[in-house]
């Protein structure tokens, strides 16, 4: 236990404060918190669905929770059930074998609900496109509020996408 505590103290807090020199990024973190406070009373609950991705986007969604991005400190958490979720984060081109499961997950969410399509595949179908096995982009299957391009999008791009979704909802 001593070694464990020593390691925690030695490493310290790695979470990156909103960088002062990057106005865009600083704004991002602040606006994110304000929007969440306004819209979701201090907590945004995200349900992730992999609708057919290559698992590259999942790697970056995982990284959102690491100490550098520390997404939970921003009041955002990933939840296990769509019934607890405010926002659906969808990766992949939608495999036809996942079409029904994705629709059911979306239907299971309480309103108001937001959808963010993640990655080049989620935005356009990407390299897999549309075929006998793929419905292509997420918007071909459910309504999408924001699409975040990238293969895969970086954690910062993902955060930006989530912010944009919340802002769009506030305007609407």
């Amino acid at each position: 236990m001593y070694q464990l505590l020593k390691q925690i103290v030695r490493v310290g807090i790695k979470t990156e404060a909103p960088p002062q020199s990057d106005e865009g990024l600083r704004l991002l973190n602040q606006r994110l918190q304000q929007e969440i406070l306004g819209m979701f009373a201090g907590s945004l609950a995200i349900r992730h669905v992999d609708a057919g991705s290559c698992n590259g986007c999942e790697l970056e969604i995982h990284m959102l929770s690491n100490p550098y991005y520390n997404i939970e400190a921003l009041g955002i958490k990933f939840v296990a059930s769509p019934r607890h979720a405010d926002l659906l984060l969808v990766t992949g081109p939608v495999a036809r074998n996942m079409e029904v499961a994705l629709k059911r997950t979306y239907d299971a969410m309480p309103a108001p609900k937001l959808v963010v399509a993640v990655g080049d595949c989620g935005c356009t179908g990407g390299i897999f496109g549309e075929s006998y096995a793929s419905c292509g982009r997420v918007a071909n299957v459910i309504a999408v509020d924001v699409a975040v391009p990238g293969c895969p999008p970086t954690p910062v791009a993902l955060l930006q996408g989530i912010l944009t979704a919340i802002s769009a909802d506030a305007k609407g």
Partner: protein
């Protein structure tokens, strides 16, 4: 040579790995497979192609591996009755591979299990999407999706259906647990949810473009797949990349292994109740990814390996930075390993949990990291040793216990070995070109790629078509072999240990749903 005793007419394929190709009739396959198995070989991949546009029927392809090399066997099947003998009694992984080939192409091993595997509701048994005459853009009429799971009956037995949408940020698949109390009596897996039609998508792509798709078969193994694809294409072209490119490929492959192992060790700590481990290891993984982004232009090194070489050059300073990072990582990971080793709560969760015995692993043909944790000594880097592993002297790590603890130890051991290999690359690498242009490639040539990724081996079999395009390309993920092992590993464990056991295998869905 490795397959002499089979008395087949074999031709050696040029390229980085020892590989031979031969033809045989379908009727001879059981004897050949049996002979390979007796000699310590195994089934590496099984797939089919449609040759009716060439006035023939279908071809069943088998990749059979021995430590010394790979045999790629082709068996012609008639168009009107494309049947072949069931090979699953000899090679366990054939069960699902045969079902997948039947779903896509209609070639039929006539095995007892008539259930589809990749085909859910998106197409019907009479639609054969991988046939050349099937329009790639066609959308088929939906079929029914009523998969017949095996039912376990008895006093107090009940089922827990899980998925395809899982509770965490993971890929989709369905798990059907039959349990009594908390104890798992049976786990039946139903995969194929992320089937994206990859084999069909490959057809007609430019040979040089195919590497991008190969790099997205399973995103966490993008380096392994890109290298395997390029190895296959370079085999066809009979062109070797420059030495510096090969060193850089090995550097990237080992960095991919380190990054994935770091992430898994974090999640294994977390699933064992030690959130500290997740925070610590994910911090280290993020550092590795940031170094990748800085030196290779991509956090996961996607599209950095290209036919003929590599697309990025970290330079002298970059290599020095990687060397310094290796030293820092080694210290940090040792420290965390001591903490894991000394943590009674964590070890209590790890030890004896999800045990896959060496005997079961051998029967199932389990490979890669999970195989080595159950005493299955397969590591291409230490056996067939494609360049530059012929110089690198990679040391294979194995363990005999086959439990979660063994798969954790394997990851620690392999991180340390990969750090050693990365340092060795930095010592050996010389100046020079990082890519050569490939010559024009005539149609009808075949090449094989075989790379030991972090999870296990990635195999890519490529055939060139007209105008520098792909006639057919098939990518095989080690998860095909290892998914069945998960069902054996959870037997008699309690349901709450399943996430931990599953994570300790960390298999790809996308890689084998294709």
């Amino acid at each position: 040579m490795a397959f002499d005793s089979l008395r087949l007419h074999l031709s050696e394929l040029p390229g980085a790995v020892p590989a031979w190709q031969g033809q045989t009739t379908a009727a001879e396959l059981p004897d050949i497979c049996h002979a390979v198995k007796v000699q310590g070989g195994r089934l590496a991949a099984l797939w089919g192609t449609d040759e009716q546009d060439h006035g023939q029927g279908y071809v069943l392809h088998l990749a059979l591996a021995k430590p010394e090399g790979m045999l790629w066997l082709r068996s012609a099947l008639p168009a009107d009755q494309p049947h072949y003998p069931d090979l699953s009694p000899i090679f366990y992984p054939a069960h699902r591979l045969q079902r997948a080939a039947r779903d896509l192409l209609g070639i039929d091993a006539q095995a007892a299990d008539r259930r589809p595997w990749l085909r859910h509701a998106a197409w019907q048994a009479t639609d054969l999407p991988l046939r050349h005459d099937a329009d790639a853009a066609a959308v088929f009429e939906q079929g029914g999706d009523d998969y017949a799971f095996t039912t376990v009956v008895g006093d107090g037995v009940h089922e827990i259906p899980v998925g395809p949408v899982h509770a965490g940020t993971i890929e989709p698949g369905h798990f059907r647990f039959s349990i009594v109390g908390e104890k798992v009596l049976r786990l039946e897996e139903h995969l194929g949810y992320t089937h994206k039609g990859v084999d069909k998508r490959f057809q007609g792509m430019a040979l040089a473009e195919g590497v991008r798709l190969a790099g997205r078969v399973s995103g966490d193994s993008t380096v392994a797949y890109a290298w395997a694809y390029c190895m296959a294409l370079e085999s066809i072209a009979a062109a070797a990349p420059p030495a510096r490119a090969l060193w850089l490929r090995a550097l990237m492959l080992e960095r991919e292994r380190i990054a994935n192992h770091l992430g898994d060790l974090g999640y294994l700590g977390n699933d064992g109740g030690l959130a500290f481990g997740l925070a610590q290891f994910m911090r280290l993984k993020e550092d590795v990814l940031r170094m990748n982004a800085g030196l290779f232009g991509h956090r996961y090194m996607m599209d950095c390996i290209v036919p003929g070489g590599v697309a990025c050059e970290p330079g002298r300073e970059g290599l020095e930075a990687i060397g310094a990072e290796c030293d820092a990582l080694e210290r940090e990971v040792h420290l965390l390993k001591d903490i894991y080793d000394d943590h009674p709560g964590l070890q209590d969760r790890f030890l004896t949990c999800g045990r896959l015995t060496a005997n079961t692993a051998s029967k199932l043909g389990v490979i890669g990291l999970a195989g080595r944790a159950s005493a299955q000594a397969w590591d291409l880097r230490a056996q067939a040793r494609p360049a530059p592993y012929d110089v690198l002297d990679a040391r294979m790590k194995t363990h005999k216990n086959g439990d979660v603890a063994a798969r954790v130890i394997m990851r620690f051991d392999e991180i340390f070995e990969s750090l050693r290999l990365v340092r060795s690359v930095i010592e050996h690498i010389g100046a020079g070109e990082i890519a050569v242009p490939l010559p024009d490639i005539p149609s009808g040539r075949m090449g094989l790629g075989w790379v030991e990724g972090w999870r296990g081996e990635s195999v890519v079999a490529l055939e060139s078509g007209e105008d520098g395009r792909i006639r057919s390309c098939h990518a095989h993920d080690p998860s095909w072999q290892n998914w069945p092992a998960l069902a054996f590993a959870v037997f008699n464990n309690i349901v709450p240990d399943f996430p931990l056991i599953n994570k300790s295998f960390n298999l790809s869905y996308s890689g084998c749903d294709l």
